[in-house]
Amino acid sequence: MSPNTSRSSTSLFFAVALSSFIALVLTIVQLPAWLFHFWPDWIALVIIYWALISPGRVGPFVAFVIGTLLEVLFVRKFGVLGLGFATLAFIVNATHQQLRVLSIWQQMIFVGMLIAIFKLLTGWLYGIVSDFTITREYWFSLVGDVLIWPFAFILLEELRRKARIR
């Protein structure tokens, strides 16, 4: 491993850690009632971005670690969100070449579909391990995800450029 790639690896680590930290804070910020159910799933957006940009390095394992942190914050049963995010990262890794060439509008649609798969999987698993029922409001956050994706994408691109990650 040349020193150049190792330095890039370190800066990737810090960029992923910083963006996940901000996403965790945004996830639990207190909100007015009208925004509550439409608030995006920030962690999912961050994971999609990094899994898309550096598929060889941010994969299921990193997504699982971030998901476990979110489970600690939410005080939920362990394992479900970790598995959900790992699946999300795995799908994005596998299809990153197709997703990268899409225009921003097409990307928005695909982000909505990917997070819908993630929410379906985790909602279903929570139904098994604890008392949980999927309500109509459960799906409202998809609207927020799709609408916020272009802005999140631009901000994370900026972060990546500053950190000189290729």
Binding site: I28, V29, G56, A86, T87, F132
Partner: protein, 286 residues
């Protein structure tokens, strides 16, 4: 050192994570082994909660510093009036309590348990929109224990399900997985109230066609099951639907407590059995 950012084949990594997650799910839902690591990590993640609470505390600071003086005066007068009213009611309560104790002694009934009340503040974080739970700022440090009943100034809110060092998680009575034994205040009919998953609605199944229940009846906690002390208001019946040919009638109720609006809650804890014994013993020794 293993570097998680190394290049790796996706399938093997995903397979490993899949197995780990399934093991964690099974272990966490069957045992309590993962609670200790969770507690340690929750303390480490406190900065995130602190950062997330900054916007709402700034908002509160603004509203409190911008409140006009006449408003404060009105609020103060209202509070003072209420204080005197409650104070006078307490005077009466003491004599009633004594009378009740004497009557119970005459009937040879066991003494009503006394509850200790701890005030707790809600944490300024949006815990979880998919479950009906709130996070309160009292934890192991304040001797909160699992299963403790939580009320506000109007009625029952829920019970403690998860205790961490600095905070604890309260599941609300509207959570779809929550059930609470109650009785109707008017006639003492006992039943169980279930959450529905929407705030402001509870369901009361298992009442048959000839049950004496009508719109406007108040449900109070019955004390069965041993978690909630009896006599605290829970809900008001707001709809009774009798459908012919169905074994049970369909009853829905509205919670009395301000589930989504209160900033402070009260944790009820049972007094230690030892002190209770001392109270029972003391009249005999006199």
């Amino acid at each position: 050192m293993a570097n998680p950012f190394r290049k790796n084949s996706g399938w093997s990594q995903f397979g490993l994570v899949f197995v780990i997650s399934i093991i964690m799910m099974v272990v966490d839902s069957k045992t309590a082994w993962l609670n200790a690591p969770r507690n340690v990590m929750s303390v480490a993640l406190t900065p995130i909660q602190y950062l997330a609470s900054i916007p709402s505390s700034i908002g509160r600071l603004f509203t409190s510093s911008l409140t006009a003086e006449p408003d404060v005066q009105i609020a103060y007068d209202n509070l003072r009036n209420e204080y005197f009213k409650l104070k006078s009611e307490t005077l009466l309560l003491r004599t009633l309590e004594e009378e009740n104790q004497d009557l119970r002694a005459l009937l040879d009934a066991s003494e009503r348990l006394k509850e200790k009340i701890t005030l707790a503040e809600l944490m300024d974080v949006n815990l979880d929109r998919d479950n009906h739970r709130i996070s309160v700022g009292r934890g192991l440090r304040d001797r909160v224990y699992e299963g403790q009943a939580v009320i506000d100034d109007q009625g029952v809110i829920g019970q403690v399900t998860e205790v961490m060092p600095l905070s604890s998680i309260v599941v609300l009575i509207t959570d779809p997985g929550h059930a609470l034994p109650v009785q109707i205040e008017r006639n003492g009919l006992r039943t169980i109230v279930y959450g529905t998953g929407s705030v402001g609605r509870l369901r009361v199944p298992f009442l048959n066609q000839n049950s004496d229940i009508k719109v406007g009846d108040v449900l109070i906690s019955s004390g069965l099951g041993g978690r909630f002390p009896n006599g605290y208001p829970v809900a008001i019946i707001d709809d009774v639907k009798v459908i012919q040919d169905e074994k049970f009638i369909r009853v829905t109720a509205k919670p009395i407590a301000k589930l989504d609006r209160s900033n402070h809650v009260l944790l009820l804890s049972r007094e230690k059995p030892k002190t209770r014994q001392a109270i029972i013993d003391s009249p005999e020794s006199n």
